[in-house]
Structure formats: structure tokens, C-alpha cells
């Protein structure tokens, strides 16, 4: 696993997301103080989940066609998405946020 620096905690306030230019691209979310990471590209279409809407029920809604995914599991919860998003582990160390990605998934 590679530990990839995302940003400072202060740079990712609740309700926001950061896009990490790994391959594949990862989106890191702050939902009410908890951090989650998912594959950034919607499994339905060509949309960036980091532009999505982070909801109170720990989901993110795709900004283009409104498919909802669980932030914890990546599960596709609504149409038009039927395929789950990959999830990645997030670690907060001191003031910084990191995402753990397989070695071949690197910046």
C-alpha cells in the first residue's frame, strides 16, 4: 500500500471533497467530520464524484445523473448506477489527511 498525502484537515471542511490525481482518480470526502475515499469516476457515466453532493445520510450523489453511493461501502444505492464504487482507506495523522491505495494506484 502507498500512503498518499491528500491535504491538510483544515483544507477539507465538512460537506466538501478533494480529487486526488491518482490512477484511477480518487475522491476524498468529509462527511460531518468523518473522512471517506471512493473511486472518483461514477460507475454510470463520465462524472467526477468529487463534484458530487455530500449528503447527511453518509452518501454522495453524482452531480450529473443523481446516482447515490454509500460513502462507507461504495455501494451503488440508486439508479442509474448499478455498479459499486471502489473504496480506499483514509488515515488522519496530525493535521494531515492521507489515503491508502494499492501500490499500482499511485500519483
Amino acid at each position: 500500500m502507498d500512503k498518499i498525502f491528500v491535504c491538510a484537515v483544515a483544507e477539507l471542511p465538512p460537506g466538501e471533497a478533494r480529487r486526488i490525481e491518482t490512477d484511477p482518480v480518487i475522491a476524498v470526502f468529509n462527511q460531518d467530520g468523518e473522512f471517506y475515499a471512493l473511486a472518483d469516476r461514477c460507475t454510470h457515466g463520465e462524472a467526477s464524484m468529487s463534484d458530487g453532493y455530500v449528503e447527511d445520510d453518509c452518501t454522495v450523489e453524482c452531480p450529473i445523473h443523481s446516482a447515490k453511493f454509500c460513502l462507507k461501502t461504495g455501494k451503488a444505492l440508486t439508479q442509474p448506477a448499478t455498479v459499486d464504487l471502489a473504496t480506499f482507506k483514509v488515515e488522519v495523522e496530525g493535521d494531515n489527511v492521507y489515503v491508502l491505495a494499492p501500490a499500482q494506484v499511485a500519483a
Partner: protein, 454 residues
């Protein structure tokens, strides 16, 4: 001259007559959408409604739906609110914040900057290839702001907004520039539909002070400051001069230029209308010195009177109502009403202003209803066979136009006049019968020169 519908025979600004076809004829209306609304600077939104990137407000330019958005770089852009795929209305929300606009029909997705970014099943369905770069939203080519107001124009050849406004800017500044920091919209947008031609509403706000003493007589009677009206200690009209402004002997002025119009009476004190709440009138009194420094005494004292920026943006000083008369066919309009406050005003004054505004000029406002009734009833009469042939009299004050020497700009007359109505219809005819902006401007200029010899 390109008068394909003979509208020059329907309006005679020199004699002060108008024939009713201009309010009811479908062909004339269709030409208005092209030649008036397709070429005029039209109000879209107030900058305060779009503070953040991704904020949007949907409105109309004539009958064309448009989306106004704050871009990621802080600029403002506007687009025809129509998906380029099969013509569906793209955004159905009144306003909000978004990252993208997705068509509800087949799901084409467009970015804030108007580009087509996502096409569902693109690989599988468009095996023939689709050049997404060619199918972005139609952009409103001219967009500019003036003291917080955002304006758009479909016509690349139109004059600048400043040239289009001419001396109307002087009157508009009196409404928008009283205090440091400018203005903002307080509360939401009131919207309602009434059955009348857009020109009845726009022309009244342009030129018609004359209706107020009679049409609004009952409101003026009932709302005059009285002891019964003092329950909260801040009665309507509190602290204001308690007599009709036209009876104070100070005179007044009506302004007309390029189809725009405005009028007000001179007052000794900064008097808003008597139906404005006491807290609001007190605010205007307290902030008068700043307004006078910024605007001079004539405009700082002016807290009443009416205005129309041609064709469909109107406002009233003091009651702070700003409205657009969106045309919906020759026989209907959608009225959109905004309450405008100085940004620097205390929250309590903004709340009081909002209440005063809604009470007088909201959809159930006691003054709004009086006005709507007149316009709607005229429109009903015009369904008649004989009524359609019967011309209107627009002759008040004809021949008494002048240019003042006291710094109040434009073609002017006494407040009770129809100079601005004649100017409004002349401009309308000039736009309806001219192919180019050079012709429009030359004709309008010629008309104004005849009125005041310069």
C-alpha cells in the same frame, strides 16, 4: 424603414394617439420578441443572488428561458435554458447551487461554463461519434452588470449598456447608489400571472403618476397616519410630511429618453410614501446626509415616484420594489417582484422594508391589486369588436417638453404628463421598424430633437 406590420400607423407620438392592436395582435407580439426583446438590454438578476461559484438563477429574456450562473472564476455567465439535444428545458429550479446542469429528458450534462460534458451511453449509442464541443449551451453573448444589476442582450450589435441607458442612469443611480456598498435583494422573488399586455404595466411605471390619486385613492385614505394606526409605535408614514406631494407647491418632474421614463415630486424632506413603515422612513431620514453626499440633494430627497427602463424593468423609490414584466403572449404577463435594500441597512430595517414592500407591492399588495385590476380590465375590453378600433388618448402635457437648466437631465415635463409614455411608444415603434441599431438610434434622436429642439 422596414415597417412590415404597419405599426407606424398604430402609434403617433407626435399627436399622442395609440391604436389598441399593439396590445392584442399576435403578429405584432411575435415581432416584439424578435425586434424588442431580441435586441434590448434585459434585467436578469441581482448580483447578491449569486454570491458563490455554482449559484444560479433562472429567468426569461422575452419568452426565452435563461440560466444565469456564477462561474468558478467569479464571473457571471448566462445561457439559453434549453438542452441542445432535443430542445428540453434544461434547468427547472428557480435558483440554487449546482456543479452541473443535467437535462431531465435524456440526461445530457452541461458544465457551469455551458460546455456539453456528459452524454449517457456515449460509446454504445453514438457509434457514429458525437462532437461534444459543438453542442454546448447557447450563451447570451452580451452580459454586463450595473451597480449590482445583471443585464443581458442577445444582440451583438447593440450599443453598450451605458449608451442604451443614456440619462436614465442618473435616475437609476438614485435608487441603487444611496449608500456605500450598494444594494441587495431581501427575501425571495414574488411571481404571479395576470392577463394583460406587458406594455400596460411597463408604460404605467414609465409615465403614469396621474393614476395614483384616483386608482389608489382608497389606499391613501385608509393608510393615512392616524392614532388607530399606531399599535406598534411605528405607524405607517410616521415622521413623514402628511399631505399629497403634488399639493406642496414645489413642483415635480417627468423624464423621458430612449424609451425609458421616470417621474417624481420635489419634497422638502426625504419623504418616502406614506404607506412605508415608520422604521423604514426613519432609516431614510437618518441616512439622508450620506445619500446627499453621494447623489446631491435632488436624488437624495427623492424617495418616491416611478421608473421604467425600456422595455420591462420597473422600480419605485422608497417602497424599493423592482419588477420585471415578463411577456407571455400578447394577453398575459408574469410579474416578478424583488425588494431592494441598501446592503448597509441594519437587519431590522431590512425586515421592516420587506414587510412594507409586501404589504404594498406583493401579489396581494393593496397598491399592486389596484394597478393589476386596471390593466386586466383594459385587456378584457379589447376583446370587443368596436373596442379594437377605438384609439387611446396619450396627449397629456404634449408640447410642454423641455430641457431643464438645473442639472436634471433628459427630455422633461411636469410630473403629471404623458411625455414618457409617448417616448416609450416612439422607441417601441423605432425598434419595431428598424433593421439596425444605427437606424433605431437615429430615429429616436430625431424624435427627441423635435420635442426640445436639441
Amino acid at each position: 424603414m422596414d415597417d412590415k406590420l404597419n405599426v407606424r400607423q398604430l402609434v403617433d407620438a407626435h399627436k399622442g394617439t395609440v391604436k389598441p392592436a399593439i396590445y392584442i395582435d399576435q403578429d405584432i407580439y411575435d415581432l416584439e420578441l424578435e425586434r424588442v426583446f431580441g435586441r434590448s438590454w434585459l434585467f436578469l438578476a441581482h448580483e447578491s443572488q449569486l454570491p458563490k461559484a455554482g449559484d444560479f438563477f433562472t429567468t426569461y429574456m422575452g419568452e426565452d428561458p435563461v440560466i444565469v450562473t456564477r462561474q468558478k472564476d467569479g464571473s457571471i455567465a448566462a445561457f439559453l435554458n434549453q438542452c441542445r439535444h432535443r430542445g428540453m428545458k434544461l434547468c427547472h429550479a428557480d435558483s440554487g447551487n449546482t456543479r452541473a446542469f443535467t437535462c431531465p429528458y435524456h440526461g445530457w450534462g452541461f458544465g457551469l461554463e455551458g460546455g456539453l460534458s456528459v452524454v449517457p451511453l456515449e460509446q454504445e449509442a453514438y457509434r457514429n461519434g458525437l462532437d461534444k464541443s459543438k453542442w454546448g449551451l447557447v450563451r447570451v453573448p452580451r452580459l454586463t452588470t450595473y451597480k449590482g444589476l445583471i443585464f443581458g442582450n442577445w444582440d451583438e450589435t447593440a450599443p453598450s449598456l451605458e449608451d442604451y441607458l443614456g440619462d436614465m442612469a442618473w435616475y437609476m443611480d438614485g435608487f441603487l447608489d444611496r449608500r456605500e456598498g450598494g444594494t441587495e435583494v431581501v427575501g425571495g422573488v414574488h411571481k404571479w400571472v395576470i392577463d394583460c399586455n406587458w406594455k400596460f404595466a411597463a408604460e404605467q411605471f414609465c409615465s403614469d403618476q396621474y393614476h395614483a390619486p384616483y386608482t389608489h385613492g382608497s389606499a391613501i385614505q385608509v393608510l393615512a397616519p392616524t392614532p388607530e394606526n399606531k399599535s406598534d409605535g411605528k405607524p405607517l408614514g410616521d415622521g413623514q410630511t402628511q399631505r399629497p406631494a403634488w399639493a406642496n407647491g414645489l413642483g415635480g418632474v417627468q423624464f423621458s429618453e430612449k424609451g425609458h421614463g421616470s417621474a417624481f415630486f420635489f419634497t422638502e424632506k426625504p419623504d418616502a410614501n406614506v404607506w412605508v413603515g415608520g422604521e423604514v422612513s426613519e432609516y431614510f431620514r437618518e441616512t439622508y446626509p450620506e445619500a446627499e453626499r453621494r447623489l446631491g440633494s435632488v436624488r437624495a430627497l427623492r424617495l418616491a415616484g416611478h421608473n421604467t427602463m425600456f422595455p420591462t424593468l420597473s422600480w419605485l423609490n422608497g417602497t424599493q420594489t423592482l419588477r420585471v414584466w415578463h411577456p407571455k403572449g400578447p394577453n398575459q404577463i408574469e410579474v416578478w417582484v424583488f425588494c431592494i435594500a441598501d446592503k448597509a441597512a441594519p437587519d431590522s430595517v431590512k425586515e421592516a422594508l420587506k414587510a412594507s414592500h409586501a404589504r404594498a407591492f406583493g401579489p396581494a399588495g393593496f397598491l399592486e391589486q389596484d394597478d393589476s385590476e386596471n390593466w386586466v380590465e383594459v385587456q378584457k375590453v379589447l376583446r370587443g369588436y368596436k373596442a379594437k378600433q377605438t384609439g387611446f388618448c396619450v396627449q397629456m402635457g404634449l408640447g410642454f417638453e423641455e430641457r431643464r437648466k438645473d442639472g436634471i437631465p433628459g427630455v422633461t415635463n411636469y410630473t403629471f404628463a404623458e411625455t414618457a409614455a409617448r417616448g416609450f411608444y416612439q422607441r417601441w415603434v423605432d425598434m419595431m421598424t428598424s433593421e439596425t441599431w444605427a437606424e433605431i438610434e437615429a430615429r429616436t434622436k430625431e424624435y427627441q430633437k423635435e420635442l426640445v429642439h436639441g
